[in-house]
């Protein structure tokens, strides 16, 4: 073979080899998967979009750049300006930071892969945006609140979103109350999952308590508020001391009242005290009568002694008691003195006054002397 032929054949083979390699590359590169973290964004959320491509061909493919064009979402990270080659059978991952600036719905930003030699690959990546927030509700609270009385408040947090959320916690907010715990941690919530937390709330005045639910959707923090109005009212179960069978007896120095006190409520009344209120002035021996604990339907007798000014026709009997939390309550029951009683003001204690005894003795001595004298003179 002549040398010239050999050169020609060699050049043809080289050209053929080069031409074959260049024509096979773009068609064999494909997007194999894409993912978003968090899987479902909320409006304004920032997420991470990951796209994986694979070279399914037998030849290396040269890639110039990889870009993401927004549709409903805004790419925050830079494009891949110089990617390089991807070997046969190899895969490559591209990550973009995106922000959901549009409304709700499913958006399809374009992932564009430019090949170095010619052509490009365009692949729409689905991005779901849904603004549904976590829901919170009060599932347990007392019938009525009272100042200084501790109440158990049960809050349930549910996740109606299609994706899981993390770091869920409930934070009570407001003034004029104390609460324990100050923050309740729920943790992660799967879709359609829920968590329950209990607070011990002690209001000082009527107020609104806001339970703020805080959670994270990916790296984005969100909140939702639940407002619980705290209005004071009468607890249907609370202790209800009732005074009956009252008997007022005047005695030297004042009055004595005996009667019965009964708990007509559904809860125990603790540390029950019975005292006469103003204008009465408590006196010994029963300035105050300590009844102690009165369980529901329990009854106990009491006895108090006091004195009152002239013209006093009615005095209040004050019943003090505490609930299980130690909160103090008072109940006042007027007792009529008018029309039934009269009593000496000064305290003679029912005993013979010393001055009276002296008078009697002196008079007796004087009269005895007079009588004796009269018979002696006869």
């Amino acid at each position: 073979m002549k040398p010239l032929y050999l050169v020609v054949i060699t050049l043809l083979c080289a050209v053929a080899a080069l031409a074959g390699a260049a024509s096979a590359a773009p068609a064999d590169v494909a997007v194999t998967s894409s993912s978003l973290d968090p899987p479902v964004l909320m409006k304004g959320d920032t997420g991470t979009l990951t796209v994986v491509i694979q070279n399914n061909g037998a030849e290396t493919v040269a890639i110039r750049s990889a870009r993401l064009y927004g549709s409903g979402v805004v790419p925050l990270s830079d494009s891949y300006a110089s990617v390089g080659e991807i070997g046969a059978g190899n895969s490559k991952t591209f990550t973009f930071t995106v922000r959901a600036d549009g409304g709700e719905g499913t958006f399809y930003p374009q992932f564009v892969l430019d090949f170095r030699d010619d052509g490009s690959l365009r692949h729409p990546v689905p991005v779901q945006v849904e603004n549904t927030a976590l829901s919170a509700s009060v599932v347990g609270k007392p019938d009525a609140f009272a100042a200084g009385r501790t109440a158990d408040i049960t809050v349930r947090v549910g996740n109606p979103r299609p994706n899981a959320v993390s770091g869920v916690q409930v934070v009570p907010q407001g003034t004029n109350f104390t609460v324990t715990p100050s923050i309740a941690f729920v943790g992660g919530l799967a879709p359609d999952g829920s968590g329950t937390v209990v607070f011990n709330l002690t209001p000082a005045v009527e107020t609104d308590v806001t339970f703020q639910v805080v959670w994270r959707n990916g790296i984005n923090t969100h909140t939702a508020d639940l407002v619980l109005p705290v209005a004071f009212g009468e607890d249907k179960r609370q202790a209800d001391p009732v005074i009956t069978n009252v008997e007022v007896t005047p005695e030297p120095g004042g009055y004595r009242i005996v009667g019965d006190v009964m708990n007509a409520g559904l809860e125990s009344a603790r540390s029950v005290l019975v005292t006469p209120g103003a204008p009465a002035t408590p006196t010994d021996p029963f300035r105050v009568y300590v009844v102690g604990t009165l369980d529901p339907d329990d009854i106990s007798s009491f006895e108090v002694t006091f004195k009152a000014d002239v013209g006093t026709t009615e005095i209040p009997l004050v019943v003090e008691y505490r609930d299980d939390d130690g909160n103090r309550y008072t109940v006042t029951r007027p007792v009529d003195l008018g029309g039934t009683t009269a009593a000496p003001l000064d305290e003679r204690e029912g005993e013979f006054p010393v001055a009276g005894i002296v008078v009697v003795v002196l008079v007796a001595l004087g009269i005895a002397g007079a009588i004796y004298y009269s018979w002696r003179r006869t």
Partner: protein
């Protein structure tokens, strides 16, 4: 030493013996009964004034009348006591065949009332102390007035001061009884024993009744 009718307090025998020489006269005994009545009227007025306080405002005019009636009643009571004691002694002494007219009996009974003047003064002071220290509520309905009155009576009877007043009154009654014994002895011409029985039986019964009341047995 002649100190007039005051001699009857310490020397009733000689006093009545001397009085027997004169005609019976009721002037001084009536004066004594009047003084006793006036002192009793003061106590009665204090009590009535206390009860007036119970009445509602619209019935206060009635209360003034009540005080007036109490004063008059107190004065009449002084005379009534004198007359009643005189008649009782006269009747009882008839059992012991006593002789002497009723006027003389009333005269000497009246003199025997003299210690009641002192007893009445002390009793009035004690009554004032007792009544001024009472808490009296105002009542409106008749049943309330009745309840307060009953309660007031209970307090007055059981109060130590009231018991002191009762004892003092009894002591002065004993002094009067002593004088009456001498009086009946001369007025009804009785022996000392019969005169003592004439006076002792009615007065003793009255004192017994008073003591039982003070002790709260009635």
């Amino acid at each position: 030493m002649d100190t007039g009718f005051l001699r009857v307090l310490f020397n009733p025998g000689r006093f009545f013996e001397a009085r027997m020489q004169d005609e019976p006269s009721l002037k001084v005994p009536a004066l004594i009964a009047l003084v006793v009545g006036l002192i009793g009227a003061v106590s009665a007025a204090l009590t009535a004034n206390l009860i007036v306080g119970i009445l509602p405002a619209e019935a206060q005019a009635f209360g003034v009348l009540m005080v007036g009636f109490s004063v008059v009643g107190g004065v009449i009571g002084g005379f009534l006591g004198w007359i009643v004691y005189g008649f009782v002694f006269y009747l009882v002494s008839m059992v012991f065949k006593g002789q002497g007219d009723l006027k003389r009996t009333l005269e000497f009974t009246g003199y025997g009332f003299l210690p009641q003047v002192f007893g009445g003064i002390i009793g009035a002071v004690l009554s004032y102390q007792l009544l001024s220290g009472l808490t009296i509520p105002t009542a409106t309905a008749p049943e309330e007035i009745q309840a307060v009155t009953e309660n007031l009576t209970s307090v007055l009877v059981t109060d130590p001061l009231a018991q002191v007043a009762g004892l003092v009154s009894t002591l002065f009654l004993i002094w009067s009884a002593n004088i009456w014994i001498f009086g009946m002895k001369y007025a009804r011409n009785l022996s000392t024993r019969d005169a003592a029985l004439t006076v002792g039986i009615p007065v003793g019964l009255f004192i017994l009744y008073t003591l039982i009341t003070l002790a709260g047995w009635l």
